[in-house]
Symmetry: C2
Subunit: 127 residues, 2 copies
């Protein structure tokens, strides 16, 4: 079972690898049969191949993850608040998200759930 | 199924009732057979009687909930980052928490999970 420190490090590695567009680094954090529901209510992505395909879409869109508070870690779970910035049809967009990670005994993410809805999306205006 | 707006209102009502020490108001937000795991890894509290007993402990300790960002809502789920302040053995303490609510078709909370560990607790120093 991973420690709280190990789970926090895994979350930080997820964010860092995402922002470095390191798809291998992201996928390596997950168990071979990991399940990802992102956002909740959409079809589950299962296993490294489907996860790779899924995360590649966000990375291709130029998505960047910004942590918005401390990483919560307890038992075999972590949860963290962040926002995503990405350009969508030429419009700079911000999405507020909370992810939860459930870890297996090897310290890999066995299940990820992402919480955000239409009301968590906003347009970033600028000159 | 509750709308995103209804789920966000339920989260706000949970925080407001908690801070007003309104135990009836808190319990009324939950389904009769609701399950609460707070924090993750501890024994599940099930049903209104156990929930009332559980929340009464936090209220007796003078715990106050402070929202730290937007309430995420999607499908039949909400998630929100907050911190709790309470006095523990005369020491002002802060705990960073993320809660997730799973709603039933009547808009009641059927399952609540709370994410925080030892590393999310800090002492608030003052003069």
């Amino acid at each position: 079972m991973p420690s709280e420190e190990q789970m926090r490090a895994a979350v930080q590695a997820y964010i860092d690898n995402y922002n470095a567009e390191n798809l291998d680094g992201i996928v390596a954090l997950f168990a071979a049969d990991a399940q990802v529901e992102d956002p909740m209510g959409t079809p589950m992505k299962i296993g490294h191949a489907e996860l790779r395909e899924f995360f590649a879409v966000g990375i291709a869109a130029g998505a960047r993850l910004h942590l918005d508070g401390s990483i919560r870690a307890v038992s075999n779970f972590a949860a963290f608040p962040f926002h995503v910035t990405l350009e969508w049809d030429g419009v700079q967009t911000r999405i507020d998200v909370i992810d939860t990670f459930e870890f297996d005994e090897n310290g890999k993410v066995a299940r990820m759930r992402a919480f955000f809805g239409a009301g968590n999306q906003s347009t970033v205006t600028g000159d």
